[in-house]
């Protein structure tokens, strides 16, 4: 039987231990603190942006245990013991932008950049799922990418260059996978 632990008090700062971008980090949070504010103000990871704060705009999208979701609809205390990945963790160890970031640059898939961090995290989850063992490999389609991007609001680009960048990476990875199997 589980011990009937008392709730975490609203007035107290509680320790939150997590793995942020492959590094062990600890911070402190009241239960009401959102993961967005915890990342930015407590851990200094300001790459994750705060937009609408009700889950609509997608700017705060991060990966929790690999899964893309809204940091503004998550409490900091809920990520205790979990793995959180943000835009800061995408670049390679030497600071070189990763394949997806390079494609965004090449296609001019960002202008002001406010929405970009969230979009990159959603796309990273989607691309990794396509590469997962057991995933049925199929040619990526524009419709799939547009459906994925429907969870993000970008007011600069009109989405077309974003679709082009994501599709290019998905196609390159798909071709590499097929070549690997041949």
């Amino acid at each position: 039987m589980t011990p009937d632990l008392p709730p975490l008090s609203r007035q107290v700062l509680h320790p939150v231990e997590l793995t942020l971008n492959r590094q062990r980090r600890t911070g402190h949070a009241q239960p009401r603190l959102l993961l967005t504010d915890f990342l930015r103000d407590e851990l200094g990871a300001t790459g994750t942006h705060v937009g609408c704060e009700h889950g609509v705009c997608g700017a705060c999208t991060v990966r929790i245990d690999g899964v893309a979701c809204r940091a503004c609809l998550t409490l900091a205390v809920q990520v205790d013991g979990r793995q959180v990945d943000t835009v800061e963790g995408l670049a390679l160890a030497d600071g070189t932008p990763d394949q997806l970031q390079q494609a965004f640059k090449r296609h001019h898939a960002l202008q002001c950049g406010f929405c970009t961090a969230g979009i990159l995290m959603s796309c990273a989850d989607w691309l990794d799922r396509r590469d997962a063992p057991g995933a049925a490999p199929h040619e990526p389609t524009e419709a799939e990418v547009r459906d994925l991007l429907s969870g993000h609001i970008c007011r600069c680009t009109g989405y077309t260059p974003i679709v082009a960048a994501v599709l290019e990476v998905a196609q390159a990875r798909h071709a590499a996978r097929k070549a690997g199997h041949a």
Partner: protein, 281 residues
């Protein structure tokens, strides 16, 4: 905005959650996926004293087939049900409806039971549960009761759940051979809440039409199998009976027209896919 202060209890066992509900009642809220509740808290439309977080519970995230039903635990995400390899044969209506439910990033965290407990009149899952004549299991410290979907939704964001009850499980009856399903929705943007959504089940000589987004709760009506102008008349009567509201984004007139148009399309879709053996040929 930021939520007001609350205490926080992580409950990985249903026993812990219902014990806390028994103690705190209306002052406590269950936090499952949080995709509706956290937005409500951020906007300070609710101010609970205690959040009971079941989102990391493994036992409550179970999804299983039993007794001719798909039984979905309180913490099971929409993504985990949408991703079932056999969903299109188990529950064709859900397979049709899932792509309309918000976005990938929201379905990753949002739960099936949470959407049903929230009872938004525009939400797709309450509509499907009613169309399929499913049921929910409500659990409190002293026991459980099973409530039919038709008795569960009682108004705008209102349900038959008592403050000390946990919506422990949602039960969708599995599709039977020869039954046809249709789902049509209109929203302002893909993934937005439905201005109008229609779910149709054709089962033998019975035509069941359920409408969401128009009345204060999802509403279903049974008809004999209708065609042509008889179907038009039935849909028109159904449209007028729902007391559609005038709102800035959609007039009552538009909503009635959507019931007629989407209703006809969903009925045609259900009639076409009635025989699974034909569609796979």
């Amino acid at each position: 905005m930021k939520p007001a202060a609350f205490d926080y209890l992580r409950a990985d066992q249903a026993e812990v959650a219902v014990a806390a509900l028994a103690r705190h009642g209306e002052d406590a809220r269950i936090l499952a996926g949080g995709q509706s509740l956290m937005a409500v808290l951020n906007m300070r439309l609710a101010n609970p004293a205690l959040l009971i977080d079941i989102s990391r519970s493994r036992p409550m995230a179970a999804v299983e087939v039993a007794n001719g039903q798909l039984r979905i635990g309180a913490a099971a995400t929409q993504a985990s049900v949408h991703g079932r390899p056999g969903l299109a044969t188990e529950l064709p209506l859900l397979a049709l409806a899932f792509p309309h439910i918000s976005h990938f990033q929201i379905r990753n965290r949002g739960t099936v039971a949470g959407s049903i407990a929230h009872a938004d009149p525009s939400a797709e899952l309450p509509l499907c549960l009613l169309a399929l004549e499913g049921e929910v299991v409500l659990r409190r410290a002293r026991g459980r009761r099973v409530v039919k979907a038709a008795d569960f939704f009682t108004g705008m964001l209102l349900t038959a759940r008592a403050p000390d009850e946990l919506l422990e499980e949602v039960r969708f009856p599995l599709a039977k051979g020869g039954t046809g399903f249709g789902f049509e929705e209109f929203s302002m943007r893909h993934g937005d809440f439905a201005v109008c959504a229609v779910a149709v089940v054709v089962d033998g000589q019975r035509l069941r039409i359920a409408v969401g987004g128009v009345a204060d709760r999802p509403t279903a009506r049974d008809f004999p199998l209708l065609h042509g102008s008889a179907l038009d008349d039935a849909l028109n009567e159904l449209a007028w009976s729902l007391q559609a509201r005038d709102e800035p984004q959609a007039s009552a007139q538009l909503r009635r027209q959507l019931v007629r148009t989407l209703g006809r399309r969903a009925v045609q879709q259900a009639l076409l896919n009635r025989h699974p053996e034909r569609s796979t040929a």
